[in-house]
């Protein structure tokens, strides 16, 4: 049996991952640790599981792997704690860190201590995206020129307050939603970003939060591909779902439009006098957690590494710099 636990339920994805972990045969869910007693009580009751705020008690259960779902700025200290307790496999929520310094520390820790450290980029396991990547890799769609993309969402403070806290989250929309598409485009093009231009504003939920709520970025890659990303929290609170992730890849043979969250039922509800989208597509988180487990079982690095997380952090930091200066930032 492979023993897996979660460190911190601060990030709402923990609520998905616990179910992903529990559903994998041959995996023992050991429970979770969270320094916040309120969250320990809430989530141990909600998911009928063992939880503790005592890290020693948690590590006494000898996890083979942990999934870190703390606030963004606590990732480094959580990684240090886990490694200090002898954990060899870590899956860390994105963004890997809120500063370049923290992200670099995580990467060098993972390298020097030979830790299998996976950055949680679940979109690499989205069935529609995997299908398109497969065709692109086989050359069916031709040579890639550029991407137009959107990862727009609702204001995340609807779900967790700390997402809009500059210190805990490391920023707003740019920090929250730039990394998924950045990582996908690095993965698809097999190239690295060499320049970033970005603009941001506080036009949505103005006055409610200190961080930017809208952002647009243009990335340029070493192989000459380029990509725009809209990472704004522009979806209204009553939008039929949390948001979405879609992109158009333009090639010398035309274009392919991909909407990762299009597989929905439209449900009309009298109680809320509104429609909601009920997702019926495959669960990307499940694929990601299964890859994490497989990497532990096969004693190999996971297919996404800490360095992948660091590369995305570099782009986010460059985007903040560009938004502040109005200039293109070279990496």
């Amino acid at each position: 049996m492979i023993k897996i636990g979660i460190m911190s339920f601060a990030h709402l994805h923990a609520e998905a991952y616990i179910q992903n972990i529990r559903s994998i045969p041959g995996v023992e869910w050991i429970g979770f640790v969270d320094p916040d007693n309120g969250r320990v009580k809430q989530f141990s009751e909600q998911y009928r599981t063992w939880g503790t705020s005592d890290f020693d008690e948690f590590f006494a259960k000898k996890p083979d792997g942990v999934v870190i779902c703390s606030e963004n700025n606590n990732h480094l200290s959580m990684v240090e704690t886990a490694i200090g307790a002898g954990v060899k496999n870590i899956c860390c929520e994105k963004p890997l860190a809120t500063t370049l310094e923290d992200a670099e520390k995580i990467v060098s820790l993972a390298e020097s201590k030979k830790i299998n450290l996976m950055t949680a980029f679940p979109m690499r396991f989205s069935a529609p995206i995997v299908a398109v990547k497969d065709q692109l890799d086989r050359g069916v769609y031709g040579r890639i020129y550029c991407f137009r993309s959107e990862n727009e969402g609702q204001m995340p403070s609807l779900h967790r307050k700390w997402f809009v806290d500059k210190k805990l989250a490391g920023g707003g929309a740019l920090q929250d939603h730039l990394v998924h598409l950045t990582d996908l485009f690095r993965w698809i093009t097999k190239s690295e970003v060499d320049s970033v231009y970005a603009q941001s504003s506080q036009c949505f939920h103005r006055g409610e939060v200190d961080v930017e709520t809208a952002g647009m970025a243009m990335l340029h890659f070493k192989n000459d591909c380029f990509a725009t990303i809209d990472c704004s929290w522009s979806r209204p609170d009553y939008y039929p779902t949390w948001g979405g992730l879609n992109f158009e890849v333009v090639t010398d043979r035309g274009a392919v439009q991909v909407d990762a969250f299009r597989q929905n039922l439209t449900v009309y509800r009298h109680d809320i006098q509104n429609q909601v989208w009920h997702y019926w597509g495959s669960d990307s988180n499940q694929g990601m957690i299964e890859e994490f487990v497989a990497s532990i079982r096969e004693e190999r690095p996971a297919c996404i590494t800490a360095t992948d997380g660091l590369r995305a952090v570099e782009v986010v930091q460059a985007a903040y710099e560009s938004a502040a200066s109005g200039k293109t930032v070279k990496l």
Partner: protein
């Protein structure tokens, strides 16, 4: 009144359909190749002239539907002859020429009506009205998308010659640059990257632009000649403080034609859903009323120049890789 149409390509013939819906008389077309224009002239029971001078002497209104690089000379010539002028978009290939054209028309005391037709498409006009009503607050982010295939031409394909058309950012994206200004006001900064037909290995054109408006709104403009014919997709999202408007031409198609056909796609793709009146006809009618009765129009000559200015900045940004600041024109405009 008597109208003369200059140019008999896809725009010349589209405008002719609009004029046929008014009480104006089409007194003739002006075309480089008279034999090629004969069928169109015959359809409207009129003549073809080889020289603009000849058409000018017959008409009260001149409707210029020629390749962009010819606009400045033809507009100035028509102004000098005291004709009321309608000019296809883009007004010119550079905003300085656009200003000269405005001045020439002012001095001659004639109107210069710029055919930024997107303002006449009901879906675009309705969204603008909705935003202006204040119901959903100020726009925060805007997405404007417009993509079809490379225009074809039996010969002299001026669309693909950047010297003549300005390329995709000038010829196609100008629709959305103008619309962005209409909805969110003047633009401060332009940043663009593109794939160009200048690269001989590229069979497509595609451009992505981020506009920052004076009021802080961010607009993302997608333009492409990249899809297989006959596809032409347009769409927008206007995300505002208290709501959002979404439009997608594919999602709103009331008819899906799955009939087998051997017919080729048209040379130049035009967007459009089935409507009682074509937006091109609505445009011609509004311009005609303006000329006859001095009515206001929804697009001014200055709007035409400012759209060109944004497109010029986008071309420059694509070339240099740096953001380009827009100079306010208020000082130079009357």
């Amino acid at each position: 009144m008597k109208v003369g149409i200059v140019g008999t390509g896809s725009m010349g013939s589209t405008h002719a359909m609009g004029w046929a819906e008014t009480d104006a008389e089409i007194v003739g077309f002006c075309a480089e190749s008279v034999p090629e224009a004969e069928p169109l002239a015959k359809k409207y029971h009129t003549k073809v002239f080889e020289k603009l001078d000849q058409l000018l002497s017959e008409a009260d209104i001149i409707d210029i539907c020629t390749p962009t690089y010819l606009h400045p000379t033809q507009v100035k010539q028509a102004a000098k002859a005291g004709k009321q002028i309608i000019c296809e978009k883009p007004l010119a290939l550079d905003w300085q020429s656009g200003l000269e054209m405005l001045r020439a028309c002012e001095e001659a005391g004639v109107r210069l009506l710029v055919a930024q037709v997107v303002r006449f498409f009901p879906e675009y006009a309705a969204a603008k009205e909705l935003v202006d009503s204040g119901q959903i607050g100020k726009p925060g982010t805007i997405h404007l998308r417009r993509c079809s295939y490379r225009p074809k031409k039996p010969s002299n394909n001026w669309f693909l010659d950047e010297q003549k058309s300005g390329g995709i950012l000038m010829d196609l994206a100008i629709h959305d640059f103008d619309y962005a200004r209409w909805v969110a006001g003047d633009v401060r900064t332009v940043y663009t990257q593109k794939v160009s037909s200048l690269d001989p290995s590229s069979p497509i054109d595609f451009g992505l632009t981020i506009l920052t408006h004076e009021n802080g709104t961010l607009t993302h403009v997608t333009c492409g000649w990249a899809y297989p014919p006959p596809n032409f997709q347009t769409g927008f999202d206007i995300n505002c403080e208290r709501g959002a408007v979404h439009f997608d031409s594919e999602e709103t198609m009331p008819i899906h034609n799955l009939i087998q056909t051997d017919k080729d796609a048209p040379d130049v793709a035009l967007p459009g859903s089935p409507l009682a009146e074509s937006p091109y006809t609505s445009e011609i009618k509004e311009f005609y009323r303006a000329i006859c009765y001095g009515d206001e129009v929804r697009v001014t000559g200055t709007d035409g120049v400012k759209a060109v200015q944004i497109a010029c900045a986008a071309r420059e940004s694509a070339r240099t890789g740096e953001p380009v600041q827009i100079k306010p024109l208020e000082g130079v405009l009357k």
